[in-house]
Amino acid sequence: MNEEYDVIVLGTGLTECILSGIMSVNGKKVLHMDRNSYYGGESASITPLEDLYKRFNIPGSPPECMGRGRDWNVDLIPKFLMANGQLVKMLLFTEVTRYLDFKVIEGSFVYKGGKIYKVPSTEAEALTSSLMGMFEKRRFKKFLSYVANFDENDSKTLECVDPKKTTMRDVYKKFDLGQDVIDFTGHALALYRTDEYLDQPCLETINRIKLYSESLARYGKSPYLYPLYGLGELPQGFARLSAIYGGTYMLNKPIEELVMENGKIVGVKSEGEVARCKQLICDPSYVSDRVTKVGQVIRVICILSHPIKNTNDANSCQIIIPQNQVNRKSDIYVCMISYAHNVAAQGKYIAIVSTTVETNDPEREIKPVLELLEPIEQKFVSISDMYAPTDVGTDSQIFISRTYDPTTHFETTCNDIKDIYKRMMGSEFDFEEMKRKKSDIFGEDQ
């Protein structure tokens, strides 16, 4: 490793692996190291199950009924991919899709008055939903077809709404929608975590609802996708891309020192050797003096032997608990997957509850949600700090990723990747930059 590289990357989380792939594809000489013996860092999927027990200091080994330990791949950070989202676009442009198989999440649900309801997102579903009364249904159906036809450049479709001026609150008023419908539209379709959007111009919200519907239209059932064997496959796929383009990979490397000269990174020291570089990419855990805490997330991994009640026995689903249903400022999410995704032993389900911490008793904040999941066979609770860089790298050439936030998809992660790219390269991120530069498939389907 006593060599000179263009870029050294520390940590094999998703953000780092995607950036590493982009850099290698564009001809940079990359050295990618991780202090752990596995890929994925904070965004790893832990296997076998024994390792998860150890990681959370649960005494003893998993009981017999948990099946074989190596059948488990448990995500530390729960997220789904939006079928029409930016991560899917990155997977397609880089052709990392070739290494992965996906399933569609079976349904999205919303919590209301202590119960779970399927989120109606098409007209047909809206008409059969028990979430709304008869008249409300008609009005919601009208609203959905209005959104579907909405085109900011075609005044005929706007019906007197000014996309840049009329607030979303007024649009809801125009369709005479009640509080419950507003709640699930804002939080389960437009996926806002707070209610601040209500008093902003409606265009952004309408576009989000459109995007949700378009993602939904791609595969039906729900707008979300999930890779077989867990989210940990995603960083591994991009790491392979980076390696194919010459990136050097080393795991299990303790990082002893970042070597600086005149305030600029010039190398990284590991096991007594120094690898030199011009730029460094890393996650916050490698540079605690250059990041600041921006909040906390609580995540509770729950192993179940049953599908969640009132979800039609779905083997995967998302449940959104809108903030005002539980007297909070931010929504609580549940992501559930199961043996059907090769992440759990036969007949087992993994539900992960996550949200932004708002009080000093976070476990209590999510108690009403845990009740929906009972009986829970085993719980793994983590409360983690979220960090953002205080050093944007202009002088140091150190580029630090943000901690994964509590959103249940990868859109904010992708925004961070685009932002780091821009700071490193001095030009706007372009998906075209990710395309493979040479043909590397041989045989029949070139």
């Binding site: 890929y39 296997t47 899917v88 997977l91 397609l92 899709t97 070739r98 290494y99 992965l100 198989d101 996906f102 399933k103 791609r218 996708l225 890779p227 077989l228 064997y229 496959e233 591994q236 796929g237 790491a239 392979r240 390696a243 194919i244 383009y245 010459g246 050097t248 990979y249 080393m250 795991l251 299990n252 059907a340 995704h341 040479k438 590397d440 498939i441 041989f442 045989g443 029949e444 389907d445």
Partner: protein
């Protein structure tokens, strides 16, 4: 005829001829100046086997094994693994046993293992006896052949032997496989007659 896609991964020390074997199998050619693996990631070839077509999706390592950083994704869902050593280098035969161990630990439970003793055209500088390798392969119930990517010896046979070991379709049927992401049909199929 029913088409079955079979993922096969390659393992073995650097320089033993992994890429050369695949190149010979897929393109029927040999390049003595082949680079240490960078670039080739994915190769396919279809061969008939009884009343089925076996489409081999062959994954070459991407150099990640050099510092023991092979990702588990590499073995995931593999039907077979080909572990290659160089008959002219004893140490490549000794490390083969570590690859077998690694596969047993991290690979799928029913993976078919094949051992290829490559460069058998270099018989006069041989360091590993065919019998020793054969005995070892038998002891772990693996396919065994000596191959030469250079002279096209036993390369097709290697894959034929693998085909024979693969359980017939229904036996290993797993419930509900996933799918590959593709561009939206409107993006790719917009092409004039």
């Amino acid at each position: 005829m029913a088409l079955r896609e079979l993922k096969v991964c390659l393992l073995g020390d650097t320089g033993v001829g992994k890429s050369s074997i695949v190149w010979r199998f897929v393109e029927d050619s040999f390049d003595p100046n082949i680079n240490p693996t960078i670039g080739a990631s994915f190769m396919t070839k279809t061969v008939p086997h009884q009343n089925e077509l076996h489409k081999f999706l062959i994954w070459d390592t991407a150099g990640q094994e050099r510092f023991r950083a092979l990702a588990p994704m590499y073995y995931r869902g593999s039907t077979a693994a080909i572990i290659v050593y160089d008959i002219t280098k004893e140490e490549t035969f000794l490390t083969l046993k570590n690859w077998v161990k690694e596969l047993r630990q991290h690979g799928p439970p029913n993976i078919v293992v094949a051992i290829a003793g490559n460069k058998c055209d270099l018989n006069d500088v041989r360091e590993v006896l065919e019998k020793d390798a054969k005995d070892y392969a038998d002891s772990i119930n693996a396919v065994f052949v000596e191959t030469s990517a250079k002279n096209a010896i036993n390369i097709n046979e290697l894959f034929i032997e693998i085909s024979k070991r693969i359980p017939s379709a229904n036996a290993g049927a797993t419930s509900g496989k996933g799918f590959k992401l593709r561009r939206q049909s409107s993006e790719v199929e917009r092409r004039c007659c």
